[in-house]
């Protein structure tokens, strides 16, 4: 793996010349197209699958099986009147769609979508005489970049709701921001376990550390818990059911984008599904080996991409399945789950993994370390329960005074 801070695409080793820039632009265009086609497919897929699960037919007019429905909707939105409420903060109202869409595109760039890992090629392919990774970008701070982008996405939601100058969008966006920042902490903590095992923040290094086959995937090496925490936190971060309090139609109309119409609304809609795809891709990258998988027949080079798409598809299906199955959380349950369960759990799990690894290095008695860790986890859990009970008693006393 080399020096953890030296990761990066081999395309840049020889410096930047015209060919390199051309190839970078080509890669960005391919990534852009991948995301756009993915979004068009995902919106159709969600509507069709939800329809199937609810015993309806779903979109079936535009194109074969309604496949062109999303395109038709997009064209319709372009021709719709673009309204701006007269109470709106005009500049921020215009800015918000950019802040929502740009992070959605940017996050996808750090996902490796193919390339043979675990061989001499180490996830690279040769294009026009240049050797490059099968991912748009490989910044050395990959995972931090992911967290940064999900923080920026909060701004898009918050500013969209605030600038509308209307009741429901404001309520929706305040809820959304509180929810997204709460679960971002859990999201960040569960990824640290992956970074701990890999020793690098670059997504390419994380994938190549998992290339030894099924047993080497991070989901097993981190002991499943960070994977589960990450999946739950990612669902909340995406504002998807059962965490979709942000756009609870019964109480908030459309949530933060109630006042948006025409293509401005279309941008929020696109970003939502783009984020779903990106988050699934990130889960696959961090925990399920990314494009790792055996080559079955034919040319080897196509199989990593096929495996990646297959794993991605499982998560996309699961997100839709959750939406069709689960009722919405109550707000206090949502906050309790995030703060009082997921964050302490992932922090404790991370420290235990770290302790075991250090114990292994230093030659301590691993069984003893695990025992002490579990004992301290129990003490910590009891302290948490005690503290929240004390909080409840205090608040009951305050309510009685009122």
């Amino acid at each position: 793996m080399g020096d953890p801070l030296q990761g990066g695409d081999p395309i840049f080793i020889g410096g930047i010349d015209f060919g390199v820039v051309a190839l970078v632009v080509l890669k960005v265009l391919i990534g852009f197209t991948f995301v756009m086609v993915g979004v068009i497919f995902m919106i159709w897929f969600e509507r069709k699958l939800i329809a199937d699960m609810q015993n309806r037919i779903g979109p079936n007019r535009a194109g074969k099986w309604g496949l062109l429905q999303t395109l038709a909707d997009g064209i319709k939105l372009i021709f719709k009147e673009d309204l701006m409420p007269n109470k709106a903060d005009r500049l921020v109202f215009r800015l918000a769609p950019y802040l929502t869409v740009a992070p959605a595109f940017l996050t996808f760039t750090i996902v490796p979508i193919g390339g043979l890992f675990g061989t001499g090629e180490n996830g690279t392919i040769e294009v026009f005489g240049y050797r490059t990774f099968v991912q748009v970008a490989d910044p050395p701070i990959g995972v931090l970049f992911l967290l940064a982008m999900s923080s920026v996405a909060v701004y898009g939601v918050m500013l969209a709701g605030w600038s509308s100058g209307s009741k429901y969008p404001l309520l929706g966006s305040v809820r959304a921001s509180a929810q997204m920042v709460s679960y971002e902490a859990a999201l960040g903590l569960s990824v640290v376990a992956v970074v701990l095992l890999t020793g690098s923040l670059s997504t390419h290094d994380i994938v190549s550390a998992q290339s030894g086959g099924f047993a080497d995937w991070n989901i097993w090496r981190t002991g499943v818990v960070p994977f589960l925490v990450f999946c739950i936190a990612a669902t909340a971060e995406l504002n998807r059911p059962p965490f979709d309090l942000v756009e609870a139609e019964q109480e908030l109309v459309g949530g933060f984008h109630t006042e948006y119409s025409s293509m401005r609304f279309g941008m929020f809609y696109l970003a939502e599904f783009m984020n779903t795809i990106t988050m699934s891709a990130i889960i696959v990258t961090l925990f399920l080996g990314g494009p790792d998988g055996p080559s079955l027949f034919g040319p080897d080079i196509i199989w990593p991409t096929i495996w990646f798409m297959g794993k991605l598809f499982i998560f996309l299906f699961t997100f839709v399945w959750l939406r069709a199955t689960l009722p919405r959380f109550r707000y206090d349950q949502l906050m309790d789950l995030g703060w009082k369960r997921l964050i302490p759990l992932s922090l404790a799990w991370l420290l235990v993994i770290g302790a075991i690894r250090i114990a292994d290095d230093e030659g301590w008695n691993v069984a003893l370390v695990i025992g002490i860790s579990l004992a301290s986890c129990v003490v910590g859990a009891l302290a948490l329960v005690g503290a929240s009970r004390a909080g409840r008693i205090r608040r009951r006393a305050e309510e009685a005074l009122r």
Partner: protein, 153 residues
Amino acid sequence: MDNYLPLVVMLVLAVVFVFGSLVTTKFVAPSRPTVAKQDPYECGIVPSREAPQRFPVRFFLVAMIFIIFDIEIIFLYPWAVYHRELGAYGLIEMLMFSVAVLVSFLYLLSKGALDWGTVKKVSPLQPLRTSESSIRRVGLEGRPSRPSEVGAP
């Protein structure tokens, strides 16, 4: 820094994409604003009040607590990358740091800073709540002052 070049290109492309779509809409979509269309959305009622500019302080609290945790997470990343090199020293430092954060977290919990809603269980069916009282509570503006007048010709 070369590795950030694709990110910049992607950012430019995303902004161009949004800008292009919005400009296209501006040219091909009709623009016939009316007062009713430009009012804040209120489910069909004419809005009688300004949108609230203030919201519960609890949301601010969550944001501040988040900052504390975010900083902790940022401290964990360098340790996670270099924990092998730091060895037992790094681990013990990290444990002490986590205990410090945990204690402040426990303090927050015991203050009830992360609790939402009322502690008291409210029975969902109250005898006081009838359709008449609900109408009274929700919107009296623009309605006859007494619910009995609704049916009057």
